[in-house]
Each structure stands twice: as C-alpha cells, then as structure tokens.
Symmetry: C4
Subunit: 391 residues, 4 copies
C-alpha cells in the first residue's frame, strides 16, 4: 500500500497536507492566525482557488509502462526533485521561533526551492547561511518595491551577494488589500518580530539623509488629496518603469509574480522577465479575482512556452500540481500549507509536506500512466462526459 | 497597509459595510427589523441581488500608473466624490431618533447624494435644512404616486421649493408586495412615527373638500369587485400617463426608479426621463425578479449612453460598485447598508459606510490599474477561463 | 399595503401557503404525515418540482394600465374565479374528521374546482351533496383503473349520476412507487378509514359472482412468475386500450393525468382526451422524474392549444401559477398545500389557501403589467442576463 | 402497493439499499469502517459517483403494455435474473464471520453473479464450494497482478479448476491510492484475517526458492531510487504485456476492470478482452477521477456493442441500473451496498439487497413503459426542458 513514511513526531491523523491546518490553529494565537488565514474581503477568491482544482477531473490511462518515472524538473537552470517552491510568506517568526531559518534549512535539505520575502523576520544573509547549511536547494528573493527607492537596489545587491538565484518581483500587491479578518482582530506584529531587512537606514553612515527623506515622505502625505488609495498608498506602487529598472539593475533572472491577464504576462516577458507567477496573492489583495488556476490556460496559450510559468493559490494535493502542469504551469508555489506544517511540527512538518506532495504527485502520474512531467497535458483533464449523450 | 481610519466609537470588528448588520439587529426590535430586512415572498430575489455581485470575477491589470486617480463623478450636473447615493428608505425614525435628518446631514457633509422618501418620517423642509447645515451634497425627492392625485403636485412643489434637485419617480411598487416577514410579525408603525409629508389635507383651508374626496375613495372601495389587487390597490398605480404628467409638471429632472425591462427603460427616456434606476426594490415587491445587476447589461446596451443609469440592490462592497459601473451604471444607490449603520452608530456610521465604500472602490480601481471611473469597462470582468482549454 | 384578510382563527404567522405545513405536522401522527409528505425513493423529484419554480425569474413591465384586471378563466366550459383546482388526494379523513366533505364544501363555496380521488374516504354521492351545499364549484372524479374491470364502469356511472363534470384518468401510477418514507414508518390505514367507493361488491345481489372473480384473481397471483412487478402489479395497469374504452364509455370529458412525454400527450389528445395534466404524481411514483414544470414547455409546444393543459407539482405561490401559465398551462392543481391547511385549520384553512393564491397571483399579474391570464406569456420569463456581456 | 417482501429479521426502516449503511456502521469498528467507506484523498470522486445518477432525469412513457416483462439478461453466456453482480471486495471476514462464503452462498442461491477478490479472506476453493451449495449463480475471479509473477498463473489455474467462469483483471489499482481515511485511523488487518490465497509459497516444496525470490525483491527495494511510487510500488504494476500474457494463459474470458478512457477500452477489446468494467474503483485509487457513469457514454459509443460493458460506482437504486443500461452498460456491479447488508444482516441482508434492486429496477421499467432490458435507451433519459423556452 502506498503510504508516506511518517516523520518522527507526526501524528497518525495527519495523512494529507490539509490536515496540518487544525494543528496549526491550536498552536497560533488569533493575531497570527488572522494574518495567515485571512484573505481580502469576503474571502471568496481564496475558496475559489481551491474549488478550481476540485472541480477538474482527471482522465487516467491504464497499463502504461511507467518504470523509472520521476517528477524531477529543471527551473531557471536548476534541477528540482519536485516542481514545488515555497512561496514568500512574511514574518515567519510569527509561526515558529526560528522563522525563515527553519524554512530555508528544510527546503534546502530536500533540494526544494524557497522564496524569501522582503518582509522576512530574519536577515537575507542569515537565511542564506541556513539554506547552505541545510543542503543545495535554490533560494530566490522576493522584492516588494519600497517607497525609499534607493532601498530597492540595496536589497537586490544583498540578495545577489548572498547567493540568491532569482528576484521575484511582486506586482499585484501595491496595497495590502482589504483584509477584513486581520482588521477585525486588530492584527499587529508582536514585539521582537519585524521586517528586519527594511530596518536599517539605507546608508548607516547617512542617518541625516535618511531622516530627511522620511520627512519628505511625511510631508508629501500631508499634502495629499482626499483619497487614501490614490493620493497615498499607490504613490509607491510598482509600474512598468520599475520593472524595466529592475531588469536593468540586476544580473539575476527576474520572475514577475501576480499576473492574471495574458496581456500583462506577454508584456513582462517582452521586457525580459524570466518567468511569470500566475497568482492572486492567495486571495489576499482583492476579493473576487478569479482562481489562479482558471487564469492559467489563457496565459499559457499566449506565452506559448517562451518562459516557464509558475502558479500559486490553493495547492494542497499532488493531484493539484498535476492539474496545474496539465494547464500550462512548469511548477507551483505553496504558501499557507507549509506554514501550517512549520507551525505544527517545525522543520519536520515542512519536510513531511514536501514528501506528501511528491508521493501524491507521483501516484497521480503513475495512475494516469505518465512517467515524466513533460508528458502531462490537457489530454488528462478531458471530461469524458463533455459529449453528453443524455442531454 | 490599507486601512480605513476608524471613526470615533466604531468597534474594531466593523471592518466592512456588512458588519453593521449584526450591530443593527441588536439595536432594533422585531417590528423594525422585519420591515427593514424583510423582502417579498421567500426573499429569493434579495439573495440573488447579492449573489450577482459575488459570482462576477474581476480581471485586473498590474503595474499601471494610476497616480492622481480618483472616483469622482458628475451626475445630473453635480459632482459627487464617489458614485454612491443613499436610496429612499421610509420612516427612518424607526432606526434612529433623528431619522432622515441624521441621514441628510451626514450625506451632505460628505458630499454624497441623498434621496428622500415620500414616506419619510421628517418633513421635506426640515430634511432640506439639515442637509444644508451638513454641507453641499445634492438631495433628491422620491415620489410615490398618491391616490389623492392633487397631493402629488403639492409634494413636487414642496420639493422644488426646498431645493431638491431631482424627482425620483418610483414605478415598481404600485402595491407593497407580499412581504411575508412583515406579515408574520404583524408590522405596524409605532406611535409617533408616520409619513408626515402625507399627513396634512391637501389644502389646509379645504378640510371639507379633503373629507369629501376621502369619502369618495371609501365608497369606491365598497363598490369594488372581488379582487383585492385589481379592484382596490391597483386603482392608484402609476401609469405612463402619470409619468407624462410628472414630466410636464416639474422643472426638475425626473429619474424613473424600478425598471428591469429594456423596453420600459427606452420608453421612459423617450418620454423625457433624465435617468433610470435599474432596481427590483431591494427584492421587496415581487419575489423571483432577477437580480438588478443581471438586468443591467441589456438595459445599458439599449440606452447606449443616452442618460446615466443608476442601480440598486445588493451593493455592499466597493468592488460591487466597480462591477456595476463595468456593466453600464453611472452610480449606485445603497439602502439597507446605510440604515444598518445609522441604527448602529448614527451619523458616524453612515459616514463610515461611505468612507469604506470609497476606499474599497479606489482600492479595486488601483488594483485593476484604473484611475478614473470612465475607464472601467467589461474588459475588467472577463472570465479568463471562458475559453476552457480543459473542457 | 397588500395583505390578505385573515380568516377567523388563522394565526398571524401564516402569511403564505407554505406556512401551513408546520401547523399540519403538529396535528398529524407519523403515519398520516409519512403518507402525505413522502414521495418515491430519495424524494429528489419532489424537491425539483419546487426548485423548478424558484429558479425561473420574472421580467416585469411597469406603468401598464391594468385597471379592471382579474384572474378568472374558463375550463371545460366552466368559469373559475382563479385557475386552481384541488388535486385528488386519497383518504382525506386521515387529515380531518370530515375528510373530502370538508374539501368539497369549501372548494364549491369559493367556486373552485375539486377532483375527488377513487380512494376517497367519503362516498362519491356524499361528496357531491357537500359540494352542492357549499356552492356552485365544479367537481371532477379521478379514476384509478381497478383490477375488477367491471368496477370501473360502475364508478364512472356513479360519478356521472352524482353530477361530476369530468373524469380524471390517472395513468402514471400503475403501481404505487417505492415510497420509502411510508415503508419506514409502516404506513397503514387506521380503523374506520378506507376507500369506501371500492368497498362494495360490484353487484350486491351477486355476491357469489364477486367471490368467484376474487378467487380467480388470487389464483392468477399464485401462478405468477418471479417478478413482483411484471407478474403481479402491472397486470392491472392501464393501457391505451383502457383509455379508448373509457372515452367510449362515458359522456363526460376525460382528462388524462400523469403525462410527461410530448408523444404521450399528443396520442391521448388524438384519441379524444379533453385535457392533459402534466404531472409526476407529486414525485410519489418514480424518483428522478423531471420537475413537472420542466416537462411543460415541450408538451405545450406539441399540443399547440388543442386542449387546455393542467399542471401539478410544487405549486405554493401565486407567482408559481403565473409561471406555469407562462409556460403553457391553463390552470394548476394543488395537493399537499390544501391538505396542510385542511389539517391545520379545516375548511377555513382551505379557503385561506385559495385566497392567498388568488391575491398573490393577482399581485404578480399587476406587478408584471398583465390584466388577464391569456396575456401571460414567456415574454415575462425571459432572463435579462441571457446575453451575458460579462462572459 | 408495491412493497418488497421483508425477509426474516430485516427491520422495517430498511426500505432501501442505502438504509443498510447506518446499521453496518453500528456493527463495525472504526478500523473496518475506514477500510470499507474510505476512498482516495478528499473522497470527491466517491460522491460524484452517486451524484451522476441523481442528476439524470427519467422521461417515462405511460399506458404501455408491459405484461410479461422481466429484467433477465445474458452475460458471457450465462443467464442472470437481474443485471447485477457482486463486485470484488477484499477481506470480507472484516464484515461477517463467514466472509466470502456467506456472499458466495447467497449470490448463488439467488442466481446472481459474484466476483471473488484476489485478496479474499477465504480460499478460492472454499468459496467455490459455498457457491455450489447455494445454487447455480456464476462466479468470477478477480486478479490483482502479483509481484511474484509465477503466483499469477497459479491463481488463474486454481480459479479455472474451481469452476470460476471468468477472470476479472483489475488494472486501475497498481498502487492502493491515497486512502487518507484509512491512514488516519491506522487501518490494519486484525489477527486471523488475511489474503489467504496469497499466503502459501508458490510451490510448497520449494520454500528455499520462494525465500530466494523474496530476498531478491527486498534487495531490489534497497537499490531503488528516491521515488516511493516509481521505484517501488509501480515496478509490479500491470502493463499491456501482462494483459496479453493473461489472455494467452487462460481459457476463461478475461474482463478488464478499471477503464475510464475510450482508447484504453478499445485497445483491451482489440487484444481479446471479453468485457470491460467502467470503474474508478469506487473512488478508492485517485481522487477527482470522473464519476464512472459520466465516463460510460463515450466508451459505449466507441465499443459500439463489440463486448458487453459493465459499470460500478455509486449504484444504490434500481433506477440507477436503468440509467446505466440506458447509457450503454449491460450490467452493473455493486460493492459497498452488499457489504453493508452483509455486515448488518448476513446472507439475508445480501438477498434483501438483490431483491430490492430487482423490484426497483422492474418498477422503473414498468413506469417507463419498458418490458425488457434491451429496450432501454437514452430516449428515457432525455431532459424534457433541454429546449428551454424560458431562456
């Protein structure tokens, strides 16, 4: 019988990735839980992300010879044991005392990719060290464009210096969305947890200059118009010019994260983006955005293989990964699922989640008669009843 | 992080317009609640109004430059800070001791439009005064055609004299519908609350004439046929002739409220209506009418920009307003949401609701890459999966 | 405000026909309730009957002049005050001590049509007398074909003699279906309640002949094959030949009840049926039959006005009647709703139900701008969003 | 009234096959229940199997003459009293002390077909003897391909020798799927229950050779790659070559079980398969496979009557059998339903289930006006509303 080996200390009733959520809930306070689980508005998009996987049926093939199959893939020049990366999640010390260090160590130990958030609670350099200690997994750095524009270049340079292999430029969250669940509990960072990589003045020797710029920002706000959104928050939002600047600034491949419209995907690739993440930010920015899986096919059709496409939002099963790949993705990112495991069981939990996903993905491939990821196609998603004899 | 500034006394867990409902429920008795919340029959249409917004997905654009954006609009010659009006709601003293005065003051203070009901519990003139005290927001007067036909002209003249800027002629409620929820609690107006603008004889010096006409009505009822509906209530229902009369009688623009059929919309505009409100009366007249949002596109297509189209029914989010505009509306009216806020928090509540809607609408615009209302179109509602590769 | 006048003793919280069910439940024991409420199998069809009405939207017209409107109709030569008949329901003494006498009296008093079941617990003649005492409403007799074929003619002759104006020939229940709810409670008729019209030997003077025929039937059963259904129950099922016999035997118009297939409807009318009842027997014979309303349009299209079409199944609202007429019916039958009212409030309840339906139907007509039943058409059911701009 | 005769000891509230589940739950411990009821992953496919029947509507014909009708059929040369076989279910001693012996005896007594699982808890020979003692029902043997390839031939020879009439080759479960429910309770076989037909060394005189082969397998596992699935479990999965071997090895007809793709069905028949079972293994191998009924029409269309098609998954009603036949099946298999009955009421329960299905199937046929299985067609599944006048 197919059965993932249980890691030390993993309870028997955690048989699937989603089983970690209940355990995580018990470990976390309302503040951290609201931040982790909350999404924008009425959280419809978050539910749709999941439903988009559930409603798609698999059409399997039997008796295929799949000896020697595997789910390895190559992404931006690096081989991964399975097509899964850990998505950028801010302030991971909210969920485990070791925060991003635990995540980086474990991901690297299993050869999986990890994307470090700009809002990490551990320093870019410490996380890199933990990853190197863990193994050889690739690490990427996620960039939120900062109001202090000079800070962006500093962040990129630090990531380059610390051996990060790609910059993930998040473009779909110029403002944090209407996270009603967070607002209702009055979410705030506990003492001792902060976005440490944004803490220092840009130039430690130029404190005067830093304070001058801060004052200038504050004054701009005072002069702003009546709109909270347009006259304040959106002033610092990334534009296509910022993407051009980033592409010209770094020698690393740039992954544009948060695209749902095919025209935006094409434009980003035309400018030089090395990859696209089809994403609605886990449903956290704007409610009633479509499920990311639903947005994937049209983007894949337009990009036509020019760059690898990534996807996040709702992945909980190996069969979900199979479906995302069938619809055009090269790999997926998971967010809340690994944080649940981190909160519930620490590094062992993350390793277990990755193992479960690999076993489930391989089982899906085997039962569909597929031995390599690049043989997965929409042929395996056809609805056998679409020619309804009975209608 | 995007966060609406909390007004004094607004609890932290009111983060969205819909959060006011639970607070309002606690403040109101069963009688007022049944009147406010109840709708016709099994209240299906009321639910559909909401669902029509929830099921439509937004397709956003990223990295657009939206600096200086805003959600101002011009309606019947007046600029509004946001495309929202407060719908006519009867007997507002049921919900707050100051009734319509509180509503008018707050709406005007925020520059928002307010529509006063024929069945207001405060006088046309007092409400006008409160609005002027509050600020410069536009005020409109809603007219239910009265059995005493002479009374209609009097109401229009009083509205004109008090500076109301439009007459909203409600045509979809010639009878009050089958409000089973109201009937089950035996709804009745408490002592001291009534439709004060209908109280007086038409001519205070002609009490004899008034009583004569009342007797004549009573006799007509005695002679009526066996139909409660056709032989009694519908005798006083508005017809197209009444609309013609109204258009000829007043110098104010006439807005026809309660249209769902494109042919009716066209006919009203052909006759001279300045605007149309696509509405099913909040689901209160006839159950299983379609959601007002579902009725909008066909009407917008037929009117083709000849007059501004308004819409009410189910609006609770800034993103709902965005969707209504994308499908052809120029502005929307909200009803129950502001009454919930009025009941729960008085004028502060109404101001908070308007601020929440503005912030959410602007956030939706910003995240969709739109800086002006007139750039919102159905392009932003396309379902990215409508070409189903996987089906 | 539109409000049906409450009859003496009707509680305030009965504002709609469906409100009677809870009251009836409290008056009836499990045995009677299972018989009344139960349907075949998993009772899906029963739910679909209702859902078919709920999901159809009304597209109303405003400002039409409907003065003098009404909902009267003519059916098989008789004028009815509203297009509603009381469907045949067996053993009504299960629900009220006066059984069918109460129903007949009340229906006739209101001018409404009543269809008496073959399985009535009161005699054909007594029910006729009660109806005459009540007023002038039409009465029809429903015929289940009896194994003792001679008995059928006797029943028809008695109905003719007692002034019944039509024979309703039920063809969709040759066996009683798989009424699992009844079976689970072990339904049985209480002492003193029986199908009195089937009780007597065919010829009281020929008891020997009767017993002979009974023995012959019993022997046939002993010789039957292994199928409960085909070798026993279906031996007495009505066939097209039986319909021909009935049409040749009686001078009364024959209404064929229980048709869902257009070909069957056409064949029955070709043979001489005066009317068709589109029905799935309230979901009581075979589960997953379509909702009767869903079966109506195709039958109406094929019959093209040759005979009036009736419909039962799921009617609870005046707007349901409007929809049935829009899709091709001339009138409807209600079953469980009037039995609920009979059980809860006796004759007053039935009268109240009929009044509620009339008021609701007229309100629906008025709000849709229709003054006569024959002006109701599918124009009023068009979904205004069927041309989806946003899809 | 149609009423199945109650067998001795069957409680009154078991009126339908599905009623046995609650009784079985009370008799079984969590371990056995998780094995029986659990399906793969989130168990969506298991629910869809059932829903696929529920959403299809029957379009009946009235007044047809169905005297002498029956539901007998011929399958692989054998007449069956009804088109139902008992699906292979492993370790039936988990559910009743007599295990497969009880099943075989009862099935044979009623002339129904039974398929014995490779993982039976009773020996091939003992089950054959029980079946012969019971009556004359056909028995088939289900083969899971064994890692020890020599064992397969032995199993086939034993089945042939014991009078089994077909080999059912299961091809959709090369690994056991992700049975999370089983994993969460830590399912394991109780002492004394095992797959007895796999217990013995291949050749009792060659224990040394057996142990050698076992060691060889163990060593292969040690040398395996990093994939639990591809490098271990799938090494022993059946391929098309194994099917060819089986067809060449046995003189019995080979039924290929677990096909959902039309191309696989055609290929199996081209190679010589005598029949196909359209199945998703009761939803137990891979979640989000389509309902087996939904997969049936396309396969039936492609096979075009070349071989009889069987179907399992979700059957609980006689009307389900009718629908499966309408969409192209010749007969169906039931699994959990008869195990529920076995657990709750032993052999009497299984007999009752078969009788209920026959009575319900015949009632469905009679009410649809069909007297023989081969007259069932998609004509009886047409949705009468598919030409929507109101849309």
């Amino acid at each position: 019988m197919f059965q993932a080996p249980l890691l030390d200390g993993i309870p028997q009733d955690i048989a699937a990735v989603a089983d970690y959520a209940a355990y995580a809930r018990r470990r976390l306070d309302d503040n951290a839980w609201a931040y982790l689980e909350g999404a924008a508005g009425d959280e419809l998009t978050r539910g749709w992300n999941r439903a988009a996987f559930d409603r798609r049926t698999l059409l399997p093939r039997v008796m295929a010879d799949v000896a020697g199959g595997h789910c390895r893939t190559t992404l931006l020049g690096r081989e991964l044991p399975l097509p899964v990366l850990l998505a950028p999640v801010a302030w991971q010390k909210l969920f485990h005392p070791d925060g991003e260090l635990a995540t980086a160590y474990t991901a690297s130990a299993l050869g999986a990719g990890m994307v470090l958030s700009t809002l990490a609670s551990c320093s870019i350099e410490d996380v890199a060290a933990a990853a190197q200690q863990g193994g050889n997994g690739p690490r990427w750095f996620q960039l939120y464009l900062q109001p202090e524009r000079q800070l962006n270049e500093e962040l990129v340079r630090r990531a380059e210096a610390a051996g990060y292999e790609a910059i993930v430029f998040t473009v779909d969250a110029p403002l944090n969305g209407i996270r009603n669940r967070e607002q209702r509990v009055g979410f705030q960072l506990p003492a001792g947890i902060e976005a440490v990589n944004l803490r220092r003045p840009l130039d430690p020797n130029d404190r005067a200059g830093f304070e001058l710029r801060q004052r200038s920002l504050a004054e701009k706000r005072k002069q702003r118009g009546p709109s909270n959104v347009f006259d304040d928050l959106m002033c610092h939002a990334p534009t296509w010019k910022d993407l051009e600047w980033l592409l010209a600034t770094t020698r690393l491949p740039v992954v544009v994260k948060g695209v749902l419209h095919p025209d935006d995907a094409v434009r980003a690739v035309d400018l030089g983006a090395a990859s696209i993440v089809v994403s609605n930010h886990g449903g956290r920015t704007l409610d009633t955005l479509p499920a990311s899986l639903d947005a994937l096919p049209a983007i894949a059709e337009r990009l036509f293989g020019r760059v690898p496409i990534l996807l996040d939002g709702g992945i909980q099963r190996g069969s979900d990964i199979f479906k995302a790949i069938a619809l055009g993705a090269s790999a997926v990112l998971i967010g809340r699922p690994y944080i649940h495991a981190l909160a519930a069981a620490g590094p062992f939990g993350i390793a277990h989640v990755l193992r479960l996903l690999q076993d489930e993905l391989e089982a899906t491939m085997a039962l569909c008669g597929v031995d390599r990821l690049d043989r997965i196609s929409t042929d395996f998603l056809k609805d056998p009843s679409f020619r309804r004899i009975d209608a």
